[in-house]
């Protein structure tokens, strides 16, 4: 026990009274520490989310780019000139004669 506390006991103060006196300071310190931990944790989380966001943004752009390339490929594959050529060369089809098609009125 420190000399100061002994002196305080001798002068009539009990330990509990002394601790009670120190409690607000302790609470304040605890509060500061807690706030500090929460702040640091939140910052760490924000940074981590930032990295995730960057990664996902990059991934999104790559997927959009891939989608655009696929759309272009589909459009190229469906070009009428290409389809006609394939139909003629690979399937042996021919364009119908002018009178071969006879549209009928829809009922």
């Amino acid at each position: 026990m420190s000399a100061a506390l002994l002196d305080a006991r001798k002068s009539g103060f009990s330990l509990s009274v002394i601790l009670l006196e120190l409690l607000p300071a302790a609470i304040l310190c605890g509060l500061f520490v807690t706030v500090g931990i929460v702040h640091v944790t939140s910052r760490v989380l924000v940074v981590r989310v930032g990295y995730d966001l960057s990664r996902l943004d990059n991934e999104n752009r790559l997927l959009v780019r891939e989608q655009e390339q696929l759309k272009l490929e589909v459009a190229t594959l469906k070009a009428p000139g290409r389809l006609e050529k394939l139909a003629q060369e690979k399937l042996g089809l021919v364009a119908p004669a002018p009178n071969a098609l006879w549209p009928v009125p829809t009922r």
Binding site: V47, G50, Y51, L53, S54, D57, N58, R65, E68, Q69, K71, L72, V74, A75, T76, K78, A79, P80, G81, E84, A95, P96, P98, N99, L101, W102, P103, V104, P105, T106
Partner: protein, 675 residues
């Protein structure tokens, strides 16, 4: 007391020294703090901006993200122009292991000139483009070289997936992504969008860390242009035109397909064709969008307007007789000739045999002022206003001399563009009402807001419905055996049309040359025209007459387009098969008696509804549905939804029940637009 004073005096000397030292130390600390404070003020206040920028440069990376250029699509959403990011290759010459060897290796991989590449490396400091918008296989080859100092960056490149299809209309884009011709140039502002910026930290490991909301300064994609063109009709028109030009050994050609009821241009074809993917390989002549920018003397196709004007003004009647002077008629010191000498003819017969003398005499009856006025009312001398660069407006000079009046009556001595002629015939096909021709139906920005929308616009009534029907009826005789264009006759559909064979002016001789422009314009089916088709062949060599060189191309286009649209034939099947002409009342043809095709279909009841080819689907009816439900239903039907606005579905394109290819884009207009 005295001792105490003495003692105090004794203590005083070191205390003073102590104080002095304290003061000294205080002063030193104060000076130090002052220096620190001054420096802090200098850094934080005076040099704040400069240092802030330096700091930003060191740890914040700001990246400019190029906006994706908007698409150009046809009326059913088939893409005609699309942008895709591709790799561009750059070099830092200071990092290259050996400039000479590297240049040689790169030139070989990229098919470049090694000497020129080496010179570029030697001139540049830290950055030089090696090849922009390189092909994937070229990028792979360069990556395989694994050279230091070579980098790759993504740049948007314009692709035209349908290659030459509508190449002149769509136009071209330069390496910098700016429109240089066609719609790419005309709608540069709408298509280009707005580049965005994104900033973030880059840590020691080079990882990016986003520090702002991703949508804060995101790039705005360019608007999508929806055209009135139908890529299938366009393809048919281009194919038929190319064949006609080759058969006639001509230098060039143009074809226009127009919906006369709405004024929509369904096809705008030109020959020579242009592939916008490789503009560097094209000849200068191939860049001309002739059907829009070339004004030429049209020839006899103009006779129909003279007859229409004269009928409307009651200057003539359908039975007025004109003496066609046995093929030669003197006007002042000039002589007008007919290819085939004719005697006394009615206006209908004049159109059928295309008599110049007959047309000139009708022009005389109509009068100079009225002739010019009717040409103007049909839209000649005015720009059609399609929005394309270099649109021709043509010239209709006032015919002061008698010979000018005569020649202008059969389409010589004045000029017009193919689009103007098609639109004017559209007025005859549309019961005398001229519709404004248009090419771009809609411009929709990336948020779905409609920036520009063209709808069918009635310009004016040119002639009465009765006059228009009467002229169309006369034009039906042109494709019969005695007419000038029997090759345009269709067995299934009634055709009304007119040939044109105009002499070309030779600027060197300042007079007409022996070169010709042959044309045929027709409307089909004549009783209720769905399309006006114009085919123009420039400088044909094998034959010069429109009925011989242009009419077959018309027939080819119309024969493909009519079944494609499901237009019910004008004539019953038996009549069509035997080539017998059915009566020609100007009423829509109604099937009389049991139609063998209908009977065959009826016997296969249920097949029509379910017998959809594997690649086709029927568009569901989405009207009144919420956006979410409509999208779900479209995706389930393997169709691509394209939403305009918010709320419930107000209208859809293509319409419910239409048969379309899988993956076709269905545009849904929702009630209420986004703001």
């Amino acid at each position: 007391m005295r001792d105490l004073k003495h003692k105090a005096r004794k203590v005083d000397a070191p205390t003073r020294w102590l104080r002095v030292r304290v003061w000294l130390m205080g002063a030193v600390f104060f000076a130090g703090l002052l220096a620190v404070f001054t420096r802090a003020v200098a850094l934080q206040v005076h040099q704040n901006d400069r240092l802030r920028e330096m700091a930003r440069d060191q740890y914040i990376r700001e990246v400019e993200i190029a906006a994706r250029r908007g698409d150009i699509v046809d009326r059913v959403g088939a893409p005609l122009a699309q942008s895709v990011d591709v790799d561009s290759i750059w070099a830092d010459p200071t990092e290259l292991p050996d400039v000479k060897v590297s240049a040689k290796q790169l030139a070989k991989a990229l098919n470049l000139d090694p000497k020129e590449l080496r010179e570029r490396f030697e001139k540049a400091k830290r950055f030089v483009w090696v090849k922009r918008q390189a092909k994937p296989e070229e990028v792979a080859k360069v990556k395989a070289l694994a050279l230091n100092g070579i980098g790759f960056s993504k740049e948007p490149r314009r692709f035209y997936p349908q290659r030459e299809l509508a190449g002149h209309v769509v136009g071209i884009v330069g390496k910098e992504g700016k429109g240089l011709d066609g719609l790419e140039l005309a709608f540069e502002e709408e298509l280009s969008g707005q580049a965005g910026r994104r900033e973030g930290f880059r840590d020691a490991k080079g990882r990016k860390l986003v520090t702002q909301r991703l949508d804060d300064d995101a790039p705005r994609e360019g608007a999508t242009l929806t055209l009135t063109l139908d890529n299938r009709i366009q393809y048919m028109a281009e194919k038929a035109l190319a064949r006609a030009v080759a058969d006639a050994k001509a230098t060039a050609g143009m074809a226009v397909v127009l919906d006369p009821k709405s004024g929509e241009l369904l096809a705008l074809a030109n020959y020579p064709r242009l592939n916008p993917n490789t503009p560097n390989e094209a000849h200068a002549e191939a860049f001309r969008n002739r059907s829009v920018s070339d004004a030429f003397e049209p020839g006899s196709t103009f006779k129909a307007f003279v007859v229409a004007g004269a009928l409307e003004e009651k200057a003539i009647t359908e039975s007025t007789l004109f003496d066609c002077e046995k093929g030669a008629w003197r006007v002042g010191r000039h002589t007008i000739n007919d290819t085939h000498p004719q005697g006394i003819l009615t206006p209908g017969k004049i159109l059928q045999v295309s008599s110049n003398i007959g047309a000139a005499k009708i022009g005389q009856k109509l009068g100079r002022e009225k002739l010019v006025d009717y040409y103007a009312r049909f839209g000649f001398g005015d720009r059609p206003g399609l929005g394309l660069p270099g649109e021709a407006k043509g010239v209709v000079p006032f015919p002061k001399a008698d010979i000018s009046l005569a020649t202008e009556s059969f389409g010589q001595g004045l000029t017009a563009s193919a689009v103007q002629i098609a639109a004017a015939y559209g007025a005859l096909a549309n019961d005398g009402v001229l519709m404004r021709p248009y090419l771009v139906s809609k411009v929709v920005d990336s948020d779905g807001v409609v920036v520009l929308e063209n709808r069918p616009t009635e310009l004016r009534r040119v002639v009465s419905a009765r006059t228009a029907k009467s002229v169309v009826s006369m034009l039906e005789a042109v494709v019969e055996k005695e007419g000038t264009a029997p090759r345009a006759r269709m067995d299934q559909y009634r055709v009304a049309g007119k040939t044109g064979t105009a002499q070309k002016v030779d600027p060197l001789v300042r007079g007409y040359s022996d070169k010709r422009i042959a044309s045929f314009i027709g409307m089909v089916p004549a009783e209720n025209p769905r399309a006006v088709v114009l085919v123009v062949i420039d400088e044909p060599k094998t034959d010069v007459y429109g009925g011989l060189v242009a009419a077959p191309a018309f027939k080819e286009i119309a024969s493909a387009a009519m079944p494609y649209w499901g237009v019910v034939p004008s004539r019953p099947m038996a009549a069509a098969a035997s080539g017998v002409e059915s009566p020609k009342p100007l009423e829509p043809a109604k099937p009389s008696g049991p139609n063998p095709v209908l009977a065959a279909i009826a016997s296969l009841d249920g097949v029509t509804e379910n017998g959809i080819s594997e690649g086709a689907v029927r568009v569901p009816d989405l009207s009144g549905k919420s956006a979410r439900k409509a999208v779900t239903q479209l995706l389930a039907t393997t169709l691509e939804p394209h939403l305009l606005g918010t709320g419930r579905v107000k209208s859809q394109q293509p319409r419910a029940g239409a048969l379309v290819d899988k993956g076709t884009r269905v545009t849904l207009e929702l009630a209420g637009q986004l703001h």
